[in-house]
Each structure stands twice: as structure tokens, then as C-alpha cells.
Symmetry: C2
Subunit: 482 residues, 2 copies
């Protein structure tokens, strides 16, 4: 068994070589396979089913709010993509271009969508005529392509990824802005309640906002390797795109008005954040709410095989009604091999059952997060599993929150700011908010960016910006970021 | 109200100008919008939610069978696509090619996937080592692109479409073939039980089989305009791809073997088939099992508005627990306008409630398929709705089945064969099965193709092929087809 463990286990510690650890986990846990197109990854079933759980939650929430799912074309004609100047500037360096179909050269190049504002808003201008047509709230789940030339990192930075993109149009700025924050709260819930990853809500700086937006809000997380990462974004586009795409409506006074628009997106990057956050030296650790399996049952049948298997099936039937559970009855693997495999795959709870347990009418319950083992009477099993899954979910979140809190440094002092960034911390600091100053911060800290500006700032800010000495307008989070 | 009706109604009869009728229905019912990329359509929420219902059913069924969902890259390097000779010959005339990313020319052209055999099987060869790794059964829901140069027909023939593609590998031919037929049965159920469209199961001719397959099975439908159409296909790929992509396993005798593979797909084309089948001169007619809304409640409030609205809300709450139902309480539209709109959108049942109905503790229930109106006591409403939805589902299927049966001509005579094709019928005829003969049939009938060869053929076929006079090997369906 020791031999098997070496074979399938992670060969480096997370704390020693984070990057190699991650590369091994995503492959050995069966989440990712590399493809022959550089930067494009295969999302294997174990990872894809996490995405499906996110979809179920998110679809339910947005449908409750009146958002409807649709599907818009993958291809965007070059002329259409270029209609909004700031937007095309942000995206065109990364666009994959289709130039030929079969043997024919196309009359106009087609962009493989990096995002769908332009192709969608062209249609919105046909659909919106009157205030009766508003709000128009659509979402699509799809693939997008951004041909980055930086090193790919599976889930976090890949040339193709999956996401949802919501695109909405409202009659008033007020309604639009309310939605921006409402969806941002939903993203916070996805990260905190499902992925057990604490995030900071806030507004992006002018420099970091979405290409073409009035303002961008985001949730940001902090990873155990000392890097911050943007989790999801909810943009208020204002009337920028409405003016370019001529999306107008007659209000109830028969006046022609431009709509107010938002767009908001959550990507498969979120899976990578969760993996990095919770995984340990044995592999993946999954929060129960998004785990493809919440518990796995491993029968221990050195002897009395039939009897043990029969009992294990009963346990499986008992739990299947309430949990995602699987009985691993494979005979070609030893229990020890299975323990290692399911630990690698991060299943929250392992249930062992052998001849002695059957005698005692109990099973062994092992938690993936803490490794704690307990003997549980079969009669109490359902309640114990429910409680233990809750405990695991909370424990993962609490640990991640401690990590975030203990790595956030609040300072007004420039020397401490620089030192904290060097120590791989997040800095919370007063700031003038100017893009020029942000450039200086980046240069002087070897790469720290503004993450976001929280919404619950003090009414009056009396501090000065530690970098430039001008009066601070906001408090802002800074850090080195993916 | 007459004015409004003209404005939103279909202006041609289905029987007079089928093509124009279809074009109007898909737009006026809010299913499709054209985009600025020729041949690429926007699938609007009303159509997309039908697709979501298909996904729920199909996912449940395949997951029950042990198939898992995954996601493979959109792009396939040219060299990879070209590995299987028959396969590339079938697809390359329709491939959209990515040649540039940003300002850089790519070293190798990338195909936008027309189907994913090659990109998936490259990975399968890494994953399959031993009989323990089999069966390997994956599915993905995604977009694919086939740059056809024929006229696009929304849903039926578009350059980008959505589908599921299942790709599986087995240790034995027997297991693989069993799956081919099992999945074909599932497709039959999708068409017959959900879409209420009767289909013919069978095997494709050599000429019409999938590029690279050992054999192809299909379900075929017959449309009211006299055209047949392929509904979905389930292919046995044999060991063709396994040999090209070197997908081998050690069997339990430690012998190296090639796997047996299948692939199978169902596309958004199926939505178009359903629309064409059931729609009428008032617009779309939706089978209850895939309707985004099964019933709509229209309050009639010329007077006593608050009271009517309150009762309507009660009815809505009552029905919401069991059905997909919506209360259309919009005040800016008249009841007549709403009737027309919901008829256009094909909602199976309309429930009207006005002051007089409230007095009598009843509502008016109107069926979309027959137009039949009945007064139903509120106390009986849930049962009546359940029963009526069943009736509508069955009625639509029965009508479509009659259409199919009355348009299928069984003949052994060549003159009758030609006449029947000219009369826009399906022909069921003995056949030699040869590709050369199939070409002759196509020429002599101005376009009829073999549809498929049913599985339940008589053991001994004594007839001759009516076209070429050679001994028939099978009976086969022929028709003009999309």
C-alpha cells in the first residue's frame, strides 16, 4: 500500500512549491487534462460537475429575479466588435480571428467572442422600443476565448474558459445600479456559501475597470500563496453601449431615452480559486456544497465479503435519498488504495464499514478536512452526516477567513505598505484614487495593483495617500494579483 | 383589438407557404433573432428554455447510465483533425479556421470544432490503460460550427448550433453496440415523449453514415411540408478511431486491445422539427412537456380590477406548485392582445378569469391545440389541468403520427416509388443497399435519399430492388430530406 500511495500521491508540499502542488492536484484529482492546443484545457467530469452545481444555484437565483437564459452567436464580425472604442481597445489584442471557412476566405474577419456585449446589444436595439420592453435581463452560459500570451494557469488563466454572462437593460440608472450590487451579492454568496471562500466586495479603480464600463464592481479573494485574485465582476455600463448601439425606448411620456445597461460574469476560474484555497498535501479538499460526491462508502472486505457488501449497500441506500453518495465496491483495488484516491479527489466524508463494525452496528466516519475519525452508530448516521457536512463547510470557510484576515494589513504608512506587499500581504490603505498614482504603486512594489474599494467607507476621509501625499479620496485594497 | 391582431399575427397560412410561415413563427413567437453573421442565429429565451428542458431530461437519463459530463476545447489543431482520413474528408469543407490571435499569425491553423472526436480521443488515449478504466463514457453540451454554404434554415441548418455529444469507449464490441441502441431509444423518447414527434428508428446506409463510423443509427421524422428530417444519430465507431488515436487497454489476460467506441448527438435542430410539426396558423403550438410555460392566467378586469387580480393570484399560487404557470397581470395590454400573444407563443393552456367567473367559482380553460373552451370549477382546476396537459401532449403526438402514417407509402414498384416521392411522401421499399444504386435513386427522383433501414426486418427478404432489379438485402425508408 505504501507503494500505491507514492504512485498516486502529490510529491511536493503545498507550502514548499505551490505551483507544482497545484499542477499535480488538478491532474491527479482528475480535474484537468492538457490538450494539444496550448492554453486550452479539458475540464474533466470531477471539475465539470462542480460547475454544474454552481449553475444550478446561480440559475435558480437569477430566474427568481426575472433573468432569462438565451444563446447568442460565438462569432462577432470585426466591424461590430470595433463599434465601442474603449471596449475594442481592451479586447482586440487577445482576439482569436476566424478568417477562412472551408477553402474560402471570408469577406470580413470574425472574432471568436471574448465577451458578448457587441453581438448582444446589436439585438437589444431591435428588441427595445418602449418602456414596456424593459427591463430586459438575459444571461448565457457559454465558452469565451481570450488569447492571452502570459503563461496559462489551468482554471485561472486559460485561453478558452466557460462562464455565465448576464446582460441587462433598464429604464433608469437607479434600477441598473441596484442590480449591479444585487448580482455582486449573489457572487459573494457563490464564493462564500458554496466555495467556502471569503471575498471582499468593492468597486474597481478607474484603471482596472472593464473596457467600456461606467464602473466595475468585483469580489476579490486571497490565496494561500500570497496572491490576490479577482473572483467575479458586475459592471454598470451606463449608457455607453446604448449610445453606440442605439438602444432607445419611449418612456411613458413618449420621450425617447437611452437604456441603462449592466453586464456581469462568473467564470470557471472560480473552481481554481476553490482548489487553491482548500487543497492540502493529500490533494483536493472539497466544500460539501459543491462536491460531486459528499460521501464515499468503502467496504473493508478482507473476509465476509458478501455480508460486508450487503451492509454497505444498505448504508448507501439509506444515505442516497439525502446526499450525493457512492459505494466504492470495486474489487480490484484495496481499501487503502481507495482511501488515497478519494482523499486525492477531496470527497468530504469517507465512511468505512468492515465485519467488526457490522457486529457493533456502527460505521467509521472520516472527515477529509481534519482527518478526524469517529465511530458512528448506524441509527445516528444520517444526522451525523448532515451535521458533519455542515461542520466541514463552516470549517473550510473559517480557515480561509482567518487566512484572509491575518494577511490583510491596514496602514497609512508607505514604508509599511511596501513591506507588506513584499511579505505577500494585502494592504488596506487610504488612496487618492488616481490612475497615475496606481502606476507608481505598481512600479514601486514590483507589481501590486488595486484590488477594489469597499462600499462601506467612512463618510469623511481625512488621511493622505501614502504613495503620493495627496488627500485620500477612498480606502482601497492593494495586492499582487493573478 | 383587430388592429393589434394584424400587427402581431402570422400573415400566411402554414399550408400555403410553409417556409414563410416558419420564418414568421420563429420570429414572432420570440424564438429566434437573426444576427449580423450570416447563418448564425440568436436563440431567444423562449426557445432556449425548451432546450433547458431537454437538457434536464437527457442529463438525468444519461447520468443514470453512468455517463458523465465534461468539457473539451473548442479548437482543434489542423493536424489533429486530419488524423482520421474519412473523418476529415467529411468535415473539412465546412470548417471555420482560426488563423490569427491578436496581431499574431498562429503557427498552425485551428479548426473551430465541427464535432469533437479528434480532440477527445487524443485525451482518451492518455486515460485508458487497463480494462479497469472502461467503460469510459463522457458527454458534453456545447456549441459546434459547420460552415455550410447552403441556405440557412433557423434551427434546422445553421452554421453554429448547440448539441450534446456523447463519446464512449468499451472493452467489447457487444457493450458498444448495446449502448448505440440504448441511446437511440433515448433519442426516440426525447422526440416522442417530450417533443410529441413520432420518429422511425433505423440504420443509415453506407452512403449516409457518419464520416469515420462503422455504422450509424438514426431517428427520422416527417414534416408537414413533405420533407423528411434526421432527428438525432447514434454511431458505432468500431475501432477506427481507436487505431488512429492509439486507444488501447490491457484486458484481464494482460493482452493489449483496442477499445470499441461510440459517439452520439442531439442538436437544437430538434426544436425546429417540433415547431414545424405542431405549429398552426396562429403560431407556435407547444407540447406541454417542453413548454416553458404550461399555462398562462389572463385576468379579465374591465371592472372590479383588484378583486379579479386577487383571485387570479390565488389561482396562480394554487397552480404554481405543480405546473409552470404565469399570471399575466400587465395593465398596458388588453386581454385580447394577451390572448393573441400567448397563442403565438404556443402556451398549451390559457386560463381566463373575470368577475362573472369569480361569482360562479370557476375559470375558463382554453386549449391551444384545439381551441376548445371549457368552464372549470376552481375546486377541480388542478386535476383538470393535469388531465388537459396529458390530453394535449397525446393529441399532438397522435396527429403527428397520423401525418407520418398517411404519408408513408410501402411499395415494391419503381413507378409508384417515383410517384410517391413526387407527391412528397416517404417511400418504404425493398433495396439492394448499394451506394451506386442510392445515387441513381437520388438522380431519378430529383433528390430522394435513403433515410434509414429499420431494425425489425423480416428474416428473409425475397424482393428485388425496384430501382436496379438486384436482389434486395433490406427494406429502407426513402424521402426528400433536409
Amino acid at each position: 500500500m505504501a507503494e500505491e500511495k507514492v504512485d498516486i500521491g502529490i510529491t511536493v508540499k503545498k507550502s514548499d512549491d505551490f505551483s507544482e502542488w497545484y499542477t499535480q492536484v488538478i491532474q491527479k484529482a482528475g480535474l484537468i487534462e492538457y490538450s494539444s492546443v496550448s492554453g486550452c484545457m479539458i475540464i474533466r467530469p470531477w471539475a465539470y460537475s462542480i460547475w454544474e452545481k454552481i449553475q444550478v444555484f446561480f440559475n435558480k437565483e437569477i430566474k427568481k429575479r426575472g433573468v432569462k437564459n438565451a444563446y447568442f452567436p460565438l462569432f462577432i464580425p470585426e466591424s461590430l466588435l470595433k463599434k465601442e472604442a474603449a471596449h475594442v481597445e481592451g479586447f482586440s489584442p487577445e482576439v482569436a480571428w476566424v478568417t477562412h471557412a472551408g477553402d474560402s476566405k471570408l469577406a470580413e474577419r470574425l472574432a471568436v467572442r471574448p465577451t458578448s456585449e457587441t453581438i448582444m446589444y446589436e439585438a437589444y436595439s431591435k428588441w427595445v422600443r418602449s418602456y414596456r420592453d424593459l427591463p430586459l435581463r438575459l444571461n448565457q452560459w457559454c465558452n469565451v476565448v481570450r488569447w492571452e500570451f502570459k503563461n496559462p494557469v489551468p482554471f485561472l488563466r486559460t485561453r478558452e474558459f466557460l462562464w455565465q454572462e448576464g446582460h441587462t437593460a433598464f429604464a433608469s440608472q437607479k434600477e441598473a445600479e441596484e442590480e449591479v450590487y444585487d448580482i455582486l451579492d449573489l457572487y459573494k454568496r457563490v464564493f462564500e456559501e458554496l466555495y467556502a471562500v471569503p471575498v471582499m466586495k468593492g468597486k474597481k479603480s478607474e484603471k482596472e475597470k472593464f473596457a467600456g464600463a461606467l464602473f466595475t464592481t468585483s469580489v476579490e479573494a486571497f490565496l494561500p500563496n500570497g496572491k490576490a485574485i479577482q473572483g467575479a465582476t458586475s459592471h454598470c455600463l451606463g449608457q455607453n453601449f446604448a449610445k453606440v448601439f442605439d438602444i432607445k425606448f419611449l418612456d411613458d411620456n413618449k420621450q425617447s431615452q437611452y437604456v441603462w445597461q449592466n453586464s456581469w460574469g462568473l467564470t470557471t476560474r472560480s473552481i481554481g480559486i476553490m482548489i487553491m484555497m482548500h487543497g492540502d498535501d493529500k490533494g483536493l479538499v472539497l466544500p460539501p456544497k459543491i462536491a460531486p460526491l459528499q460521501a464515499v462508502i468503502v467496504p473493508i472486505f478482507y473476509k465476509e465479503k458478501d455480508k460486508v457488501l450487503e451492509e454497505a449497500k444498505k448504508i448507501n441506500d439509506l444515505l442516497s435519498t439525502s446526499f450525493d453518495v457512492e459505494l466504492d465496491s470495486r474489487e480490484e483495488y484495496t481499501p487503502g488504495w481507495k482511501f488515497n484516491e478519494w482523499e486525492m479527489k477531496g470527497v468530504p466524508i469517507r465512511i468505512e464499514i468492515g465485519p467488526k463494525d457490522i457486529e457493533k452496528k456502527q460505521v467509521v466516519v472520516v472527515r477529509r478536512d481534519t482527518g478526524v475519525k469517529s465511530f458512528v452508530p448506524v441509527a445516528e448516521l444520517q444526522n451525523t452526516i448532515t451535521k458533519t457536512l455542515d461542520d466541514i463547510q463552516n470549517n473550510l470557510f473559517t480557515n480561509a477567513k482567518k487566512l484572509l484576515d491575518s494577511n490583510t494589513v491596514e496602514t497609512k504608512d508607505w514604508a509599511e505598505f511596501i513591506r507588506a506587499i513584499k511579505d505577500k500581504k494585502i494592504v488596506y490603505s487610504p488612496w487618492c484614487g488616481e490612475s497615475e498614482c496606481e502606476e507608481c504603486i505598481k512600479d514601486k512594489t514590483e507589481g501590486a495593483k488595486s484590488l477594489n474599494i469597499p462600499f462601506n467607507l467612512p463618510k469623511k476621509i481625512t488621511e493622505v495617500c501614502p504613495q503620493c501625499g495627496k488627500p485620500a479620496k477612498v480606502w482601497c485594497y492593494f495586492g499582487k494579483s493573478y
